[in-house]
């Protein structure tokens, strides 16, 4: 007791102890089993140490034992919110290795599906963002609209979340006859609901106060940590692969790469909101022009890649997703490496949240839009 009194008396300010808090693995705002060792001084965050691996499923190792179509179905389980983009990355990689040209119809379908997944993912992010900041109602409005996209997925792909719609050389089924009508209805419906998102959260004075100027990530840091996707673009890092390395039908559509130079939480929020508008416009451009043709190229029963190394990257809702395959000519790869956006984004968290309050840490974390299986793989 006397020691404490001595410390208090002798220090020129009130002595407070730093303490460690385990945020997670079970915590409402980590959205999964992420554990962060947070060093706090009162409310102030001094240091964050993310501890990952609680949901490690060894997907990369499993891929070495299975064939390429089966690898595609495993990528659903990594970043389950952009399942379609992950599938597409592997499919594109295999097509690249085999030098297969897919029909235009496949490209169109894939791009529309990509953008629908991006919308669904951003909607879920939006509602969770509101919930993390304490506005619980946003959660239900976001899910309400996301449900419509999931219905489209279910009708055409047969599943809602782990769609597994891509195959090397095409897609699994042709689009459902109702597909175009449903998508058009959805786009029309969602254009009326997006302004509501702004009214409810973006314009709200409490929300703006909570987010502006918080979690600064400089462009240099963004590049250094490899922060891609909307989080990177909010730091002014032009990293949209749909623009820089266009794949599928992206070369054919006109859209803007959303960049923001404010580098804070609000910028990351607004980039995503604006991306939703861009996605809607991409879908608008493509949905009426889906060309007739085959929905898949006839592939061999057993797909064998030629010997060598192959790499393909796509833009998921979270950032740059890369597939690196080393093949030794067999039907299963020698080694597969996935570059997942969540992993790189997570480790910039310490840089951003240092010196802010716990509440800001939660806000920053939700603007990074983390999906834990994507980080752990």
């Amino acid at each position: 007791m006397s020691e404490i009194r001595e410390i208090i008396l002798n220090s020129d300010r009130l002595a407070t102890d730093e303490y460690l808090v385990n945020m997670g693995p079970q915590h409402p705002s980590t959205h999964g089993v992420l554990r962060m060792l947070v060093r706090l001084e009162g409310e102030k965050v001094l240091n964050i140490e993310p501890h990952i691996g609680y949901i490690h499923s060894g997907i990369e190792k499993m891929c070495e034992a299975i064939s390429y179509p089966q690898i595609i179905h495993l990528t659903d389980r990594m970043d389950y919110l952009s399942a379609h983009m992950n599938n597409e990355a592997v499919a594109l990689c295999v097509e690249k290795a085999l030098q297969v040209e897919v029909p235009d119809r496949v490209n169109y379908i894939r791009t529309i599906m990509d953008e629908l997944s991006r919308l669904a993912s951003h909607q879920l992010w939006w509602c969770v963002m509101g919930m993390d900041l304490g506005a619980l109602t946003t959660f239900f409005y976001g899910l309400r609209d996301r449900e419509k996209i999931l219905d489209i997925f279910e009708e055409t792909c047969g599943a809602r979340l782990t769609v597994n719609y891509n195959l090397p050389g095409g897609v699994m089924f042709d689009i459902h006859p109702n597909f175009q009508k449903r998508v058009k209805d959805f786009v029309k419906y969602f254009r009326t609901k997006l302004p509501e998102y702004d009214q409810l959260l973006s314009g709200n004075v409490i929300f703006r106060e909570r987010t502006s100027g918080i979690g600064y990530l400089s462009p240099a840091d963004a590049i250094e940590y490899g922060v891609t996707g909307p989080s990177g673009r909010a730091s002014g890092f032009s990293c949209d692969l749909r623009k820089h390395q266009p794949y599928s039908a992206y070369p054919l559509v006109k859209f803007n790469e959303i960049l923001d130079h404010r580098c804070d939480t609000l910028a990351r929020y607004e980039v995503r909101i604006k991306e939703m508008y861009e996605s809607l416009s991409i879908i608008d451009q493509l949905i009426d022009n889906i060309p007739e043709g085959e929905y898949a190229v006839k592939m061999k029963g057993v797909i064998k890649l030629p010997e060598g190394e192959f790499f393909q990257r796509v833009e998921t809702a979270r950032g740059e997703f890369g597939v690196f395959v080393i093949s030794d000519g067999k039907k299963n790869p020698y080694r597969v490496k996935f570059r997942s956006p969540g992993f790189s984004n997570l480790f910039a968290l310490n840089k951003m949240a240092k010196g802010h309050k716990i509440a800001d840490l939660v806000a920053i974390m939700s603007t990074l839009d983390l999906v834990i299986p994507d980080i752990d793989r």
Binding site: G134, Y141, D360
Partner: protein
């Protein structure tokens, strides 16, 4: 028994006289205490359950859901089922918790709420404590609850609880000021701190109408500060689910948790009841100057119905806040109080004093 729905003073008087006649004075007083205490306990328990049900239904409606639908018609018995479940739950205590304080905390919180509810006039004659410093007493006892919250946070031996409790302490101590100052504005207008006098003065027009601009400002400030004092969203930093899991009551389970839960809802009722009494005319019906027939029609509705109607409206507005806004950060909550509400309040009191001096009111 002279039962009259428009005036309960006959009823209470009859009971009082009857008890005095049949028992010794000491026994009669004791019995009266017991009767009043039981009545309040019953009221609080039932109204608390009703409020929890209402909150769940209201929030469901805001979120385009149906809310509880399974137990009873439209889920009416859901909260009772929840209450039974909470009663049957095991009481878990962290091993290194401070036993005495840990067990004491829920009682302090709920007793503070009970103390505050005593001065609220429900209807003519239906008020157990009516003395000349009613509002002063109310502001005093309603801030006792924060001690319970601080104790709960400290004694649980949990870092989340401690952070939540400290936030709650800072918040309630600051917002106490705004609540008191906005009530003070109305005291300046009413010229009395006694609840029955305040209600009586609103016979012609409610204070929010007769006090016009300063009264409306005071009402808004009171609503904001009152919401903050009850630890409800958007000021629910003390429990801040997404940050601190459950804040100060993280380590409580079973009936002790139910006490915290119930206290939160009683506080919601108290804040709404005080807002009703001071700004919206208490149990007084809505009267407009010289619209005789309209005023008579309004008089036909019993005062107790008027009181609860107004209370429900205020409760609904506070729920509307909670289910719309994001949570404030701990420094912003203090900024809001010290840089916005407090200066506005001080200017508002001056304004009210001017209004009273110049007799520029209705």
């Amino acid at each position: 028994m002279a039962f009259n729905i428009y005036d309960f003073s006959n009823l209470t008087h009859t009971i009082h006289v009857g008890l005095q006649e049949s028992f010794s004075p000491f026994m009669a007083t004791t019995l009266e205490w017991v009767i009043v205490g039981t009545a309040y306990l019953l009221f609080v328990a039932l109204f608390g359950l009703l409020l929890v049900y209402a909150e769940r239904k209201v929030c469901a409606a805001f979120q385009q859901r149906l809310g509880p639908m399974r137990v009873g018609y439209w889920g009416l018995l859901q909260t009772i089922a929840d209450f039974i479940k909470l009663l049957m739950k095991e009481l878990i205590m962290p091993r290194k918790a401070d036993r005495f304080l840990y067990n004491l905390a829920p009682f302090i919180v709920i007793i503070a709420s009970f103390l505050a509810i005593a001065v609220i006039p429900f209807a003519p004659g239906l008020q157990s404590l009516d003395f000349d410093i009613g509002i002063f007493y109310l502001t005093a006892v309603s801030s006792v609850g924060v001690i319970g919250i601080l104790l709960a946070g400290w004694s649980s031996n949990n870092k989340y609880s401690l952070i939540g409790a400290m936030r709650s302490g800072a918040q309630i101590l600051s917002y106490e000021l705004s609540v008191s100052l906005s009530l003070l504005t109305m005291i300046v207008f009413a010229g009395s701190m006694q609840f029955s006098t305040i209600v009586e003065q609103q016979r012609g027009a409610w204070f929010i109408f007769s006090g016009h601009v300063p009264a409306i400002i005071a009402f808004i400030v009171f609503l904001i500060a009152g919401t903050a004092e009850t630890n409800r969203g958007p000021f629910d930093l003390a429990e801040a689910e997404s940050e601190l899991t459950a804040g100060f009551h993280t380590e409580y389970s079973g009936i002790k948790f139910a006490f915290f839960f119930l206290a939160e809802y009683i506080n919601l009722f108290i804040i709404s009841a005080v807002a009703t009494t001071v700004f919206l005319g208490g149990w007084m019906p809505l009267h407009f100057g010289n619209l005789e027939s309209f005023n008579h029609a309004m008089d036909f509705i019993p005062p107790i119905v008027w009181f609860f109607m107004k209370v429900w409206v205020v409760i609904f507005i506070i729920m509307w806040f909670k289910w719309t806004f994001p949570r404030l950060r701990v420094d912003q909550i203090l900024t809001l109080e010290w840089k916005y509400l407090l200066p506005i309040n001080l200017v508002n009191i001056l304004l009210m004093a001017l209004v009273v001096l110049t007799k520029f009111h209705f």
